[in-house]
């Protein structure tokens, strides 16, 4: 058995219409920025801000499903409230679902040094997924929640679906 992680940021993903979720070069907020990839920004808006996407569950999926994310911030204190909402959809099921199957939430404390890497892992319900399912998801910063007290943007370097094979 091995653990795998696959990126869930791709051509099919998009921000909501708030204007507070977007991709930008890392150099806009990074200091050295020798490496300057595009990163996903969740502004400190004080609102719920969403990023939408979808992916297909790999054929070697067995279980241990997790949402896995690497992120940084220019803030050195505070919490970033992350939510991951999704529905895994099998063949012949409704591809336009009206509700999420599961919502997982975590209040993530930012590292005490600006732009140091933070890792967020949130366990998902294994039985919700099957190989070949289409997963539609929303990655959310809930800036309206009192727990989200980090006074700066969350800068997402990677968002991934983590799972084990047989």
């Amino acid at each position: 058995m091995a653990t795998h992680r696959m990126s869930i940021l791709g051509a099919g993903s998009k921000p909501d219409a708030s204007g507070d979720v977007f991709f930008e070069p890392f150099s806009v907020k990074a200091t050295a920025a020798v490496f300057d990839p595009m990163v996903l920004i969740f502004n400190d808006s004080g609102n719920e801000d969403d990023f939408h996407g979808s992916f297909v569950v790999p054929e070697n999926y067995v279980g241990s499903a997790n949402f896995y994310m690497k992120w940084v911030s220019t803030a050195t204190t505070g919490e970033f409230r992350v939510e991951f909402l999704y529905r895994a959809i099998a063949d012949t099921e409704d591809g336009d679902p009206a509700t999420a199957q599961e919502t997982v939430t975590s209040d993530e404390t930012v590292d005490g040094t600006a732009l140091d890497i933070n890792t967020t892992t949130m366990a998902l319900t294994d039985g919700n997924f099957a190989a070949g399912d289409v997963v539609q998801f929303i990655l959310r910063r809930d800036g309206a929640d009192v727990a989200d007290d980090m006074g700066a943007a969350a800068i997402i370097l990677a968002a991934m679906f983590q799972y084990d094979d047989a």
Binding site: D44, T74, A75, T77, G78, D148, G151, A152
Partner: protein, 89 residues
């Protein structure tokens, strides 16, 4: 004193975030702390003694001309920005 709206609080937080990045110091405060600091300044500057003292100082400087209160308020906005640019501010 008038409490800041959510949009005004956001304006303060985002401004301070941008300044921390631009000027290279740590953003080591929480949302609520920087909002409270902004509200405290608003409340303090809005007290009758402070407003009266500032108004009197303007009147003395412009005498015999007396600026209207809206004019004094507009003057205050730009003067406060300039104050922030001065090293001893």
């Amino acid at each position: 004193m008038a409490a800041m709206t959510a949009a005004q609080k956001r304006k303060i937080r985002n401004w301070m975030e941008r300044k921390a990045k631009e000027e290279g110091y740590d953003l080591d405060w929480l949302k609520g702390q920087i909002e409270a600091a902004g509200q405290a300044m608003i409340d303090e500057l809005n007290t009758a003694p402070v407003k009266s003292a500032v108004s009197s100082a303007i009147d003395t400087a412009t005498s015999p001309l007396v600026l209207t209160n809206p004019e004094k308020k507009k003057l205050g906005v730009i003067v406060y920005a300039i104050l922030g640019e001065q090293d001893d501010a």
